[in-house]
Symmetry: C3
Subunit: 254 residues, 3 copies
């Protein structure tokens, strides 16, 4: 199985599918090709949240704004999974989530037909090759990569009643997913929480408030989410990716 | 085979794919993940129109605006097809179309990791389970559901020369699909029809009028459609979903 | 393997998938269903650029603005590939690219359930039939088509330092892909080129200029592309599909 992720929209992903299918009978599964253009951080977040739900697979991911420059081409071994993509941090959060002891390899002979579409000319053939022979150490053109480009997401500061967090991503529904752990909110579910001085219901699910009303809940990523039932939380709360957000909960009973 | 339908956009459907593929080798086929957010009626219409073209399959469909509330989780047996989704009416029109004697079962132990993404945590594993063992009666956690939430579409009123209908959906081309049966229009194809007092050509296909011109035709759903050749019928006719529309045809020859 | 291309958006392609899977176990691979509505030329360009990356397959492509009119239904044999689609020029550029000696056949008995969705009622079943029996000559309902509708893209005029070209398509990133061959630009990579009197860097890849800055490069189609690093080239250069564009390069050293 090979999963495919990119910010290519359409129809460029089809060229990658064609190249792979010329080399391999692998089952192809799309993650998304609509990641925000060139936004390595947002894609890295989603890969970390989505790929661990898959059985062992080769995961091809190409969000590659510096394609054609000198950036390395990586293969990552993380447990039974393999990751293939550019060395720009994209693969690191999911690799760490899949297996803390992940190891990286870089391609030593990047010989591409194009300088602008390595997804088709470098990453897709490499993913197919890894699918057919999953041991990176057995490929003469792969060498251990000692210092891959890192990428990490900040932790929220939790201090008594106050959580100082950051919006990690806005999802397609407009939910603002923060880095505040769901455990911080769970004890006060059913009550209220102050979000940047606006008091909002803390609830277990979206429809616990009326349509069009704001809410705070624990989302499917296990983080605290700011949302509007049937609407866009980012707009109601006036938040974008990377914005700081401060939440205060009532004092908990001892 | 498992088909997947949702209003999740991207990348959430990929988590469902991963969960299913961890349990089953089923072929996965996407219906759409771009159904209008939370619009159970529109998705129910399209499922009814599209799924019957499939060979027997498990159809997973998650348009679930009250996820996490007490709504039931349904498995429907309709002929050789199985439907899996929330008990909010979504599955009823297609079930009736597939087999008038469809039967429903509800999941008795909903134990989800999240309250906001049952697509991933409840419906996807259930669809995989049903794919592996398609007899709902054999699953101890499924019990007959006696009174599933209903959903139906209104019939048009046909009275001599006049048809009083409703716009059921607007498709992606902007065609306004009404509930007026195509048979009402077919006899006057080649002539004209009055739509809310505007006279429009009744034609057999879009390109029978000039580009940019309005038309009335029998669409692929067998209903009367209001369209513009190469343009958007909803805009030209000023119509939205659920709007009433009155059409008058000339007197037919005896 | 059957690939699917259309301008249908969603959910209409799913009906084609269902019909095919009722007739065949073929692997289905999506090229795109987001080709610009009714734009045969743009889709023909992308089919030519993408399909040759696939191993031998049946390629179903339905951009069919005159569906239901008298236009023919074509099957094309191009090497080991088969193409199925309307006779409006859509298939010709890719057929020529796949095999200069391609041959065409037309369906002699178009008997469709609808006049508005031949993708579902005519092309999909025909693609499944061709997949099961790939020799068009063996089908009694297919006859040689002697004069299929043509479609070609203009060549750029190259005259010393000047290239007079045309924008063939704008891709989803906003890159304006011209018909000027990449070989014309390659010798001056690293220098500058005048594009309609604005001097722009000629570079090997997008990130060779700062974010937000314009550039000229050889794209993945081997044509000269006008782009903005991390932005939209069509907007910066003020160009749309079919626009003329004149480029001047410095005199080359002998």
């Amino acid at each position: 199985m090979i999963t495919l992720s990119s910010d290519f929209g359409s129809p460029y992903p089809a060229s990658m599918r064609g190249v792979i299918l010329g080399q391999s009978d692998a089952r192809l599964v799309d993650i998304s090709h609509d990641f925000p253009r060139g936004d390595v951080r947002t894609a890295a977040f989603w890969l970390r949240e989505v790929l661990p739900y898959f059985p062992p697979a080769v995961h091809l991911a190409v969000i590659d704004p510096t394609v054609g420059s000198g950036r390395d081409v990586l293969v990552v071994r993380a447990g039974e999974h393999r990751l293939v993509g550019p060395d720009n941090g994209l693969l690191v959060p999911v690799a760490r989530r899949l297996d803390d002891r992940f190891t990286c390899f870089r391609l030593t002979d990047v010989d591409a037909a194009s300088n602008t579409f390595h997804g088709r000319d470098v990453f897709a053939p490499l993913a197919a090759t890894i699918h057919e022979q999953p041991d990176p150490g057995s490929h003469p053109t792969l060498q251990p990569a000692v210092d891959p480009v890192g990428l990490s997401f900040p932790d929220a500061e939790l201090d008594g009643q106050t959580a100082r967090g950051t919006v990690l991503v806005i999802d397609g529904f407009g939910n603002a997913i923060t880095n505040v752990p769901g455990e911080w909110l769970t004890p006060i579910t059913g009550g209220t929480v102050c979000v940047d001085d606006r008091t909002v219901h803390a609830v277990s699910h979206y429809a616990a408030v009326e349509a069009g009303r704001p809410l705070v809940t624990v989302g499917s990523t296990s983080y605290v989410e700011l949302a509007v039932n049937g609407g866009r939380g980012d707009e109601w709360f006036g938040l974008s990716t990377d914005d700081a957000v401060t939440m205060r909960r009532p004092e908990l009973d001892q």
